[in-house]
C-alpha cells in the first residue's frame, strides 16, 4: 500500500490486564464494558490512517479477551461503534458518493467510448485501447453500489482512491 500522509497516529492503549475492569468485578456487564466502549471511541476518533484504527481496535479486543470477556461480544461492540462513527461522519460524504456514480458513468461513456473513437480517428488504435483499459480499471476500483454503508467495503476503496493513477495517465495521453 502506498502511504501518502507524512504522519501516523497510533493509539497507545492499555497493555496490562490491571488497566481494565475484570469480569469478576461486582458491577453490571454494561459497566464492566463501558471502558472498552470509551476506548474504542478514542481509537476510532483519534488514530489515523485507517489501518491504525483497525490495529488499535484489535489490540483492545485482544486485551479484553485476555481479561476474560467473550471475544464475539467485544467484536460486535467495536463493529457497532465503527459503523456509528462512519454514519455520523459521512452524511455529506455519502451524498458525494451517490453523486459520484452518475458522474463516473458519464465519464466512462465519454472517456471510454467517445474519446477513444476520436483518438482512433486522430492518432491511431493503440493509445485509445490503452486509455480505455486504464479507465475501466479505475472504474472497477470504486466501491460496489449499495443503498447502505458497509465499512468492510468502504476501507479498501478509500485506500485505492488515495492512489492518484487516473490523473497521472490521462494527463499525457489527452494532451
Amino acid at each position: 500500500m502506498l502511504e501518502t500522509k507524512p504522519l501516523e497516529l497510533i493509539y497507545q492503549g492499555p497493555t496490562n490486564v490491571s488497566q481494565v475492569l475484570s469480569p469478576f468485578s461486582a458491577s453490571p456487564p454494561k459497566v464492566l464494558l463501558s471502558g472498552f466502549r470509551s476506548r474504542c471511541h478514542i481509537v476510532i476518533k483519534g488514530a489515523f490512517p485507517d489501518f491504525r484504527v483497525q490495529q488499535g481496535l484489535a489490540q483492545l479486543i485482544h486485551l479484553y479477551t485476555r481479561a476474560g470477556f467473550p471475544k464475539e461480544e467485544l467484536q460486535t461492540i467495536s463493529n457497532q461503534l465503527l459503523i456509528q462513527h462512519q454514519s455520523l461522519q459521512s452524511p455529506g460524504q455519502t451524498c458525494a458518493d451517490c453523486l459520484q456514480v452518475p458522474v463516473d458513468l458519464a465519464a466512462l461513456s465519454f472517456f471510454g467510448f467517445v474519446l477513444p473513437f476520436l483518438s482512433v480517428l486522430l492518432v491511431g488504435f493503440f493509445p485509445s485501447f490503452f486509455l480505455l483499459l486504464v479507465f475501466l480499471c479505475s472504474f472497477l476500483a470504486q466501491p460496489p453500489l449499495l443503498p447502505f454503508s458497509l465499512p468492510c467495503f468502504y476501507f479498501p476503496w478509500t485506500t485505492l482512491k488515495a492512489v492518484p493513477f487516473i490523473t497521472t495517465w490521462l494527463g499525457p495521453l489527452c494532451i
Binding site: 502511504e3 501518502t4 500522509k5 507524512p6 504522519l7 501516523e8 497516529l9 497510533i10 493509539y11 497507545q12 492503549g13 496490562n16 490486564v17 490491571s18 488497566q19 481494565v20 475492569l21 475484570s22 469478576f24 468485578s25 461486582a26 458491577s27 478514542i42 476518533k45 483519534g46 488514530a47 489515523f48
Partner: protein, 491 residues
C-alpha cells in the same frame, strides 16, 4: 414480590460496591504510622518465593508487581493481584441481606405501602444468594482480600505513579523512604510544628471572617485539613514519588470548584490564541492536516514540574493580565460580577442512592474585585496533614487541589497569548504550514522545517518560554495525549 405490592418494574437502587483500592490499600495508614515514628519492619525476608515478581530484585527492599504475582498465588488471590484496583468487591451474604432489607423497607415506607415481613425478605435473600453463588467463580470478595492481606502481612498495598489501577506491594522500609524523600524537599515543602486539628480550626475561622459574609456557601461543610500522600515513581527506583494533596472534605472546597470553573470559562475568551483550544480529538485532528509534500519538523516538549514550578505571586499577576485581556470584550470593572454555573456532575433525573437527583438551581456570583483575594485565600491553603504531621507547600499550587489545573493553565495560556500578540505581524505573513498544540503540560510544535529560522519560533522553542523557574523539557519520545506519533517519510 407481587403479593407485597412491590411492582417488578421498580428498580431498587443499591449503594455502589466498594473498590479493591478502598478495601485493600493501606497507604494512608502507612503515612499515619510513619508520622507517629512507628519503625518500619522489613518484609522482604518472608517474600523469597515471590522474588520473581519484584520490580527491583537487586535492591535491598522490594516492590512486588501484582500482575507478576499471577502465577505465584492461588486463583482467587491472583484475580485480585493481577486485576485492576478499580474492580468492585462483591458484598458478603450478611451485607447483601442488610442492604436488601433496608432498601425494601425504605422503598415501602416512601411509597406508603405496608412493609414486607422479615421472614419473606430473608427467604427472598436466600433464594437470590443461592442463585448468585451458583453463577460466579473466583469473584472478588472481602474474604479473599483479607486472605491476600494476610499472605503479605506487614506489607503496604498501593499503586505506583502513572499506574493508578495496578497493585504494587511495598516493603514498609522502602515506602517510608519514599514518603520522606518526596515531602522533604526544602525548596517546595516546609515542616510545621502544629497539629492538623488546630490548623483546620483557625483556617475555617479565618475563611469565615474574610469571605463568609459575601459568600456564605464558600467554606462548605468539610472540616478536614487537606491530606497528603505519595505516588512512588519507578524511574526514581521507588525511593521518591509524586506528592498528591487530597482536598476531599476540606473547607473552602465549594469556592475552589467555582473559581476553577470561572477561570476555565475565562481563558478561551481572554486568550483566544492559546494552544490548548478544543478537546483532545480536535488537537489530534490538527495532526491529520499535515501536508503530504512538505519538509516537516516536530518538536515535542513537556513543561517540567507543571504544578510545583510556578510562583504563587505569578498566579495573582496572571489573573490581573487575564482581566486586562478581557477588558476590550466585556466590562471588568471592580463592581461587576461573574456568574458561574456550578456545573453538572450528575444529570437531572439520575438516581443516586434511591432518590431522583435535581440539579442545584443556583448560579454563583463572584464580584470581580473579590477574585484576587479569593485566589490568595485559596493559595494560602497550602498546609496539609501528612499523617499526624503538618507540612506546608511553599511553591506552586498543590497537585490535587481543584483549582490547580485552572491556575496553571491560566499562566501558560497568557504566555502563549502574549507571544501571538507580539509576533502577530510575522505570524500572519508567513505561508508555511505550522501548527502548535498543547495538551495540559505537553506541547507539540510541528510544521515546515523552515520555522526554526523564524524569530517568533526561536522565542517559542526556547526552554524558558514560560518563564523561570518553570522550563520546557524536550520530550524525546513521540508520545502525545495517550497516542504515539509515527513519522512516515520526513525528518
Amino acid at each position: 414480590m407481587l403479593e407485597h405490592q412491590v411492582p417488578c418494574h421498580t428498580p431498587l437502587v443499591f449503594i455502589k460496591h466498594a473498590a479493591v483500592l478502598d478495601k485493600l490499600c493501606n497507604h494512608k495508614q502507612a503515612i499515619v504510622d510513619w508520622s507517629t515514628s512507628n519503625p518500619a519492619i522489613c518484609c522482604c525476608k518472608s517474600w523469597s518465593t515471590y522474588k520473581p515478581a519484584a520490580l527491583n530484585p537487586s535492591d535491598s527492599h522490594w516492590v512486588l508487581s501484582g500482575s507478576l504475582l499471577h502465577s505465584l498465588l492461588p486463583p482467587e488471590l491472583a484475580v485480585i493481584a493481577e486485576g485492576s484496583l478499580s474492580n468492585k468487591v462483591f458484598p458478603s451474604k450478611k451485607d447483601y441481606h442488610n442492604q436488601m432489607r433496608l432498601a425494601l423497607k425504605t422503598w415501602t415506607k416512601r411509597n406508603g405501602l405496608p412493609s414486607m415481613p422479615q421472614t419473606n425478605i430473608s427467604d427472598l435473600c436466600h433464594h437470590l444468594w443461592s442463585e448468585h453463588t451458583q453463577q460466579i467463580t473466583n469473584h472478588i470478595t472481602k474474604s479473599s482480600i483479607t486472605k491476600l492481606q494476610s499472605t503479605f502481612e506487614g506489607a503496604i498495598f498501593h499503586c505506583e505513579d502513572k499506574h493508578s489501577s495496578s497493585l504494587r506491594i511495598y516493603c514498609p522500609c522502602l515506602y517510608y523512604q519514599s514518603i520522606e524523600q518526596t515531602f522533604q524537599d526544602p525548596s517546595i515543602f516546609e515542616q510545621l510544628p502544629d497539629e492538623p486539628s488546630s490548623i483546620v480550626t483557625s483556617l475555617v475561622e479565618s475563611l469565615q471572617r474574610q469571605h463568609g459574609k459575601a459568600y456564605p456557601w464558600a467554606v462548605g461543610s468539610g472540616r478536614q485539613l487537606p491530606s497528603g500522600y505519595n505516588l512512588a515513581k519507578r524511574k526514581k527506583e521507588f525511593r521518591s514519588g509524586r506528592p498528591i494533596i487530597s482536598f476531599v472534605d476540606s473547607p473552602f472546597r465549594p469556592m475552589l470548584n467555582i473559581l476553577a470553573r470561572l477561570i476555565f470559562q475565562l481563558i478561551p475568551a481572554a486568550c483566544p490564541n492559546h494552544f490548548a483550544t478544543g478537546d483532545v480529538y480536535t488537537l489530534l485532528s490538527i495532526l491529520k492536516s499535515a501536508p503530504v509534500d512538505a519538509d516537516l519538523i516536530l518538536v515535542n516538549q513537556d513543561l517540567a514540574g507543571f504544578f510545583t514550578s510556578i510562583d504563587q505571586d505569578r498566579f495573582v499577576r496572571s489573573l490581573f493580565m487575564l482581566l486586562d485581556f478581557l477588558r476590550p470584550k466585556m466590562n471588568v470593572s471592580d463592581d461587576e460580577a461573574f456568574s458561574v454555573y456550578p456545573g453538572k456532575s450528575n444529570n437531572p433525573g439520575d438516581i443516586i442512592k434511591g432518590r431522583t437527583f435535581r440539579r442545584l438551581n443556583v448560579t454563583r456570583k463572584i464580584v470581580i474585585k473579590d477574585v484576587p483575594d479569593l485566589i490568595k485565600s485559596a493559595l494560602n491553603m497550602q498546609t496539609f496533614a501528612l499523617g499526624q504531621k503538618c507540612v506546608r507547600q511553599s511553591r506552586g499550587s498543590p497537585m490535587g487541589s481543584p483549582l490547580s489545573p485552572a491556575l496553571c493553565l491560566m499562566v501558560v495560556s497568557i504566555s502563549e497569548q502574549i507571544w501571538s500578540i507580539t509576533f502577530h505581524q510575522l505570524l500572519s505573513n508567513h505561508h508555511l504550514f505550522i501548527r502548535h498544540i498543547r495538551y495540559v503540560d505537553n506541547r507539540l510544535i510541528f510544521g515546515d522545517k523552515r520555522l526554526t529560522a523564524l524569530a517568533p519560533y526561536e522565542v517559542l522553542l526556547d526552554d524558558g518560554f514560560y518563564g523561570n523557574p518553570s522550563f520546557l523539557r524536550l520530550n524525546l519520545t513521540k508520545n502525545f495525549a495517550a497516542s504515539c506519533l509515527k513519522q512516515n517519510h520526513w525528518n
